[in-house]
């Protein structure tokens, strides 16, 4: 598996000041500061992008394509995240945004409402037939999927094996273009306009699938400066823009639109990785079995608060609700057609979700026991204040890093200070009773100049 440790972000050592902001916020303790700059532990990173959000030096670089770097293909389709619709003023309709995407070099822009509505129905049909262990956990946020694969391997079979609206939208758009133009599918390129780098993970290496239907991703924040003037042009041209979206798609900007047949008390919606971790922990302990479905989002306000959005997430969420009210309410999905597609497996992932346990302390149990003993011995000496100055996020993580040979115990500034004080005390002992020597006075004086 060449892509086993593929990540959608990288750290730029030349821009990083080693300030530790990213290391402190990382929910899976996947960042260390080494030689003054941040490095990633690839087997632990879940691509959530919290590091991008806190970095003030632009040292965490998303690997999404720049608009200029998308390359040239016979036919390019833009597949917007519903979060894109929430990034502009309220008078900018989804229809205007889709038109602006077409005017900015894309051959087509896919509307989302049908795929969003279809996936809601598909969840309903899947749950009505599902007899396995509960609760099922949503799989549309790639960071949540990676978190389960890395930290909760026993729960991978509870990840919902239903395709996301973005995948369905890309597939349907490609099929339509291929039918209309006669182009083979592999010459049609689908570009996701993404609110976060994590979606790139599911494009490069889609869990539960041989390949994603999406080919590349461009960040909303990268496209925004180019799209905004084109949107103004569309608005001022006075041309009538058709509105192809319905209310069904907008809810997906911050949550999953769950089937109305699913009783609210059988579901739970969890936002933000610290909360997701607690819920997954409870499920792992065998609790919460009475719930049917739990939707989990890595970001606190869902996709509108992704690391590559530009608008305040609360404003964006309010706009999504307003747009939902102003757009047509009709269900864009024909139930009979949908049941037939469901029966053909069109909304199912095709492979089991893999597990990705991080590297353990030892390859065999005896080594692991020895290293864990050593880890506890090191940890017992540490101050337990999690200051981070050693370059590890907590004293516990530092103890493990020492045992694995990735850090030196001397990097702990508190231990160093204690050692220096002991040395100083030993040196001073023979001088006890005499006034402070000239050497020490000179040294403190030097510090001032």
């Amino acid at each position: 598996m060449a892509d086993e440790h593929y990540h959608s972000i990288r750290f730029d050592a030349s821009a990083c000041h080693g300030c530790m902001a990213c290391m402190r916020v990382c929910p899976t303790e996947a960042i260390r500061i080494r030689r003054g700059s941040a490095v990633m532990l690839e087997d632990r990173c879940i691509d959530c992008g919290e590091c991008i959000k806190v970095c003030t030096k632009n040292a965490v670089v998303p690997l999404t394509a720049s608009p200029a770097g998308l390359g040239h293909f016979d036919y390019m389709i833009a597949v917007p995240s519903p979060a894109l619709y929430t990034q502009f003023d309220l008078d900018v309709t989804p229809g205007t945004i889709l038109q602006a995407l077409r005017n900015s070099g894309f051959d087509a822009a896919a509307a989302l409402s049908w795929s969003c509505g279809a996936v809601t129905h598909a969840i309903d049909l899947f749950l009505s037939e599902y007899r396995g262990p509960g609760p099922l956990i949503s799989s549309f946020c790639p960071s949540v999927v990676r978190l389960v694969q890395i930290k909760y391997p026993e729960l991978v079979d509870q990840l919902l094996p239903v395709l996301s609206p973005r995948e369905v939208a890309a597939r349907e758009a490609k099929l339509r273009v291929s039918a209309d133009t006669g182009l083979p599918l592999d010459r049609i390129h689908a570009v996701y306009v993404t609110p976060c780098p994590a979606k790139l993970v599911s494009i490069v290496d889609h869990p539960g699938m041989d390949a994603s239907f999406i080919d590349s991703a461009v960040g909303i924040s990268d496209l925004f400066p180019l799209l905004a003037p084109v949107i103004r042009d569309v608005q001022t041209s006075g041309a009538k823009v058709p509105e192809t979206e319905t209310a069904a798609g907008l809810g997906w900007a911050f949550s999953i639109s769950l089937p109305s047949t699913l009783p609210a008390e059988d579901t739970m919606s969890v936002w933000g990785l610290p909360n997701v971790l607690r819920i997954l922990d409870d499920i792992d302990k065998g609790k919460l079995q009475r719930y049917t479905f739990i939707e989990c989002h890595a970001c606190f306000e869902g996709c509108v608060s992704g690391a590559l959005t530009v608008e305040n997430p609360y404003v964006a969420r309010a706009r999504a609700l307003r747009l939902q009210q102003s757009l047509p309410k009709r269900d864009p999905v024909d139930p009979a057609d949908l049941r037939a597609r469901h029966a053909r497996g069109e909304f199912r992932t095709t492979l089991p979700f893999a597990i990705r346990p991080p590297r353990p302390l030892g390859r065999d149990i005896v080594t692991a026991i020895t290293r864990m003993q050593e880890r506890d011995r090191v940890a017992a000496r540490l101050p337990g204040i999690d200051c981070g100055a050693c370059g590890s996020p907590t004293c516990a993580a530092f103890a493990e890093d020492v045992v694995m040979g990735e850090a030196e115990q001397a990097q702990c500034v508190v231990l160093r200070k204690e050692q220096l004080e002991e040395q100083a005390a030993r040196l001073a002992a023979p001088l006890a009773g005499t006034p402070a020597g000239p050497g020490s006075a000179r040294r403190s004086g030097d510090d001032r100049h």
Binding site: E154, K285, P357, I369, M372, D376
Partner: protein, 142 residues
Amino acid sequence: MTDAEFVRAYEIAGADFTNAGRASTGIKETLKNMGLPSALIRRVAIAAYEAEMNTVMYARRGTMTLRVTPEDVTIDVRDEGPGIPDITLAMQEGYSTATPEMREMGFGAGMGLPNIRRNTDELVITSEVNRGTALMMTVHVS
């Protein structure tokens, strides 16, 4: 065989519901970190959690000691508490002495000890009324 053994003890405070579950989560993380099979970890984690919650709900205080050898994972829970007057009765599914408050929190289905028995290979319970209870839970590694 080898005499390699890892031992770590956790303190459990009775009625401390804010921190309840920390010890069993710590045990789970430790076993994951040691690279033990995830199915085994899940059994140990569920048994440890049930035992920890019993201590939090009924006892004044307790200790939970994790012991890992190449052959076994053992968890030894000793509490200072009311004890179990009739262990055979307590092992029956559905039997519970949980208070309404405990039931409010989702406990009291009478599945605690049966759940522990189901997830362990060996279980030894000793108890003395008004003194405390000791559980020795073992799951074989291979």
